[in-house]
């Protein structure tokens, strides 16, 4: 996966989490992973399709999600599975939406699909084409993990090249 695809996700995660939580964040460990994804907490999976296709998994442990939800609500909220899932999905939606905005403005055209709660312990195994970037973001409310596996859509690029040549 190329840096031009990765950097917008790093920037968006940093900006959205810092803005939403009103506290500084730092990007912790970054690594490339070819193994199947292992869920760490409550995870939301968002698929993207278009010039680049793949999926992003946004993974937050339940206690961190509750702290984030309470921070957003401005009051301490009682722990609830629904609220935890909603919080993780909405955070994922905002981070990924912002990253995709940057990539679209750079000329890549994507469609973002609505987030789904990712319940299985293991995710898709990434392949040579879709090795995943795994990143940990440290926030004042806890750790947030993001796993990005995307690849260029060769068929669509081929069609564009053919269209441009006509």
């Amino acid at each position: 996966m190329r840096m031009e695809l990765i950097q917008p996700f790093i920037n968006a995660a940093d900006a959205v989490l810092a803005d939403s939580l009103q506290s500084p964040t730092s990007i912790g460990h970054l690594s490339m992973d070819e193994e199947a994804y292992r869920r760490k907490g409550v995870a939301a999976r968002i698929a993207v399709s278009g010039d680049i296709e793949g999926r992003i998994i946004f993974d937050v442990d339940p206690k961190t999600a509750m702290r984030v939800a309470s921070r957003f609500a401005g009051e301490e909220l009682p722990e609830s599975n629904d609220l935890i899932c909603e919080t993780v999905c909405e955070l994922a939606n905002q981070v990924i939406g912002n990253a995709v905005t940057t990539l679209n403005d750079q000329g890549f055209h994507f469609r973002v699909h609505p987030p789904e709660v990712h319940t299985s312990e293991h995710g898709d195994k990434s392949s040579e084409d879709t090795e995943a970037l795994v990143m940990c973001i440290e926030t004042g409310s806890g750790k947030v993990f993001m796993n990005v596996a995307m690849r260029y859509n060769r068929r669509q690029q081929g069609e564009k090249a053919v269209a441009a040549g006509q």
Binding site: V16, S20, I96, V100, T101, N104, P114
Partner: protein, 145 residues
């Protein structure tokens, strides 16, 4: 949450909003914001189809509409609402804010676009702009805006 000088309709009544987002969390967040502007939630919807039905039922002053939603996306719902109600005031609220998306929404009848995460002061200014002369802002004394 920060308090703002209340934005009222010309008849002095609270501005009524329809909030459309597939995330309950996002709807709650927007509700808190519009209440801090002195507004009132007329209805809520979690997808574009329900948004159209709820618009007919509630006749809101403003619709806050997400874009990426199941069943029917926000831009299509906005277009359908505006086709039947040309004066509908629809503000798109989405994390996906690239230029093509914004242009598509505006071309299909949306009045404005706000990118998530929504900043209350930005939404407040957009609402005042979209309502224009159909709204008045109460005395700002003591308000945080």
């Amino acid at each position: 949450m920060e308090q703002f000088a209340p934005v009222k309709r010309k008849d002095g009544q609270p501005v009524r909003y329809l909030i459309v987002d597939d995330s309950v969390f996002a709807r709650k967040n927007l509700t808190r914001m519009i209440e801090s502007f002195g507004g009132q939630v007329a209805g809520e919807a979690g997808d574009g189809c329900t948004a159209i039905t709820e618009y007919e039922r509630t006749s809101p002053d403003i619709v806050l509409m997400d874009i990426t939603m199941p069943q029917m996306e926000g831009i299509e719902a906005a277009e359908r609402i505006v086709r039947s109600h040309p004066n509908a005031r629809i503000v798109m609220v989405s994390s996906v804010g690239y230029q093509d998306n914004i242009v598509a929404a505006l071309q299909r009848g949306a009045r404005h676009f706000v990118q998530k995460p929504v900043k209350p002061d930005v939404l407040y200014e957009v609402i005042k702009y979209v309502l224009g002369e159909d709204a008045s802002v109460a005395n700002a004394a003591g308000a945080g805006a």
